[in-house]
Amino acid sequence: MGHDGAPKIPGQGPRTVVWLGELTTYWRLRLRSLAMAGPPLLWLTLLLAVPCLLLGCLAFASRGQYGEIVFQATAVNLKRLIGYTTFGWSPAFLYIMARSLWVALVTTVLCVALAYPLTFHIATRPPKKRVYWLILLIIPFWTNVVIRAYAWLLILGPQMPPAKIAAVLGLIGDGASLYPGPLAVYLGMVSTFLPFMALPLYASVERINWEILEAAKDLYGSRYMIFMQAVLPQTKPGLYVGIIVTFVPSMAMFVVTDILGGAKTMLIGNLIQQQFAQARDWPFGAALSAALMLLTLMSLAVFRWRRRDGNGGGSSIFGGFD
């Protein structure tokens, strides 16, 4: 039935094709894919690409006396970014950017270190119990970040056991709390981003070929070798996704660091928020945002480049770990 009519000569009339068992033409397929991809493309263009471009333009404007935007191309914001102010050079902003990078990096590493044992634990449970563990992991998603950050304040407060124990050990003064400070920031960050790391990683760990792990054990592999040669290669896809979805938002995080970090641990996210809100200096905020985007993209590029590099090295046992 589908064979009726002579085969069409290319270039003469619509070319018929069979696509997923359906007889159609290239033209119709094009139209259909446009109809399907069009709306999200439009959405992304209007609400992501255009604002980003505007932000980039805004970075070259400047702040007027009363907080209004003066549209006149100037590099003053870029100069401020790298430290040149009217009062001379200060590395404060660069330092904040470096610290943001560092906090995001440490958060990501801590999440990886926690997510591996966690996902292996879940993946080795009987299938029915895995669901409960996954629900436990997802529950924090249902709670607002702000609420969770304040919950940490409560836990780390001077009346609570953690602070009391720390005081007894002489780590903090009597009656002091465990916030603000790096400990509180990392606790908040890791608890916020652990599900982002663990869920994609779990997707990979669940599909692991355990026979390869057993083969590594059977061939006298040390724990390190088993991880590097049997676990890591098999879980890389999930790990990479986890790293990206943890690292990128933690670069820009300001709620957690604002509540738990105090002024000493100001990050670029806080700074941007300050510029747009309190300081009413939108152009400088835009410059900072652009810098954050650039920094994030650069980090991802380094990560991608390292990844390719790592693959090349991993192909040989001698190159892999010596």
């Binding site: 070929n209 026979e211 390869i212 057993e214 083969a215 590594a216 054990k217 059977d218 061939l219 006298y220 592999g221 040390s222 070798m225 040669q229 049997a230 290669p233 098999q234 693959n311 991993g314 192909s315 040989s316 046992i317 001698f318 892999g320």
Partner: protein
Amino acid sequence: MTDQINVALLCSGISKTFGNHRALIDVDLSVRKGEVLTILGPSGCGKTTLLRIIAGLELADAGQVFLNDEDITRYPASRRPINTVFQSYALFPHLDVFSNVAFGLQAKKTAKSKITQKVGDILSLVRMDGLEKRFPHQLSGGQKQRVALARALVNEPKLLLLDEPMSALDAHLRTKVQDELRALQKELGTTFVLVTHDQNEAKRLSNHLAVMNEGQIIQFGTTEKVFTKPDNKFVAEFLGATNLFEASRDGALYRTRYGPMDVTDKPVWDEGKILIWPERIEIHEKAKTGEPNWFSCYVRDRVFNGDGLDLLLVKDAGNDSLEKPILVKARNSFDIQSGQEVGVYFPPDYLVPLENRAQN
């Protein structure tokens, strides 16, 4: 007990339970040095669990495992001089052939020059030299299997375990690979323990055979012995026997549905089952009347099988009869047609009485 020195592997009283499923029940097994033992059984019979316990990938609930008289029951896999060829081969997908094979030596901190030499030697032994830089996804099934074999053998294990080594191969490759494996085993003299559900593989490869069912070894012996004289109905049918029939003693002869039979190998029972292999049945034009072991049958069907005929014989000529036919592999009687009457002779020497103890 005289050849205790020659025993490479000894398992005694191995039991293992998963939840409420008894995977292994008090299993004893011994393998002599330089031999190939096949553990044969249907899926779920516990054979892979037994192999994993020997490898150290699973811990037995009870029983002991000895390797060359050393109790290795509680050793982890990494402390046992035993290596495994896994069913899926389990090659490291991101490592090339050389690195896959070098893995064990690298783990044991062997000197680089020695690794290069040993890996080169074993790869040429399995005819994979020149393919060192290939990755597993660039190899054929047969090549992957040879890499898996080389990766295990390069460590010079005291015992090599093979878990269904042919199951991932195409049927036409199996015979060839089996012959290669056999030659390799002879050359190296390594003791092999092989697990399979394929009786042809067991037949071609092993010196000794342990047939398992439901967590127990139900027959153990040399491959020839088990194949020619299965102990019971399960073993007989698992090895592909179809011609099984009831018999009861009647003086010096045995009464069967095919008439009186003389049996050379006298059964221990008065009533039981007798087996005859399809290759052993003789087909003649006419049955000798009044003589034991002779009777006449009708050909229900004939199937050309490549080098002879498979004949299905029944006593009752009716096509719709429920009678279970006798299978005969006839070598040179191509003129036999369906529906024809033939004379059948069961040679007394080839009538195998089943011991009929555990399962009938």
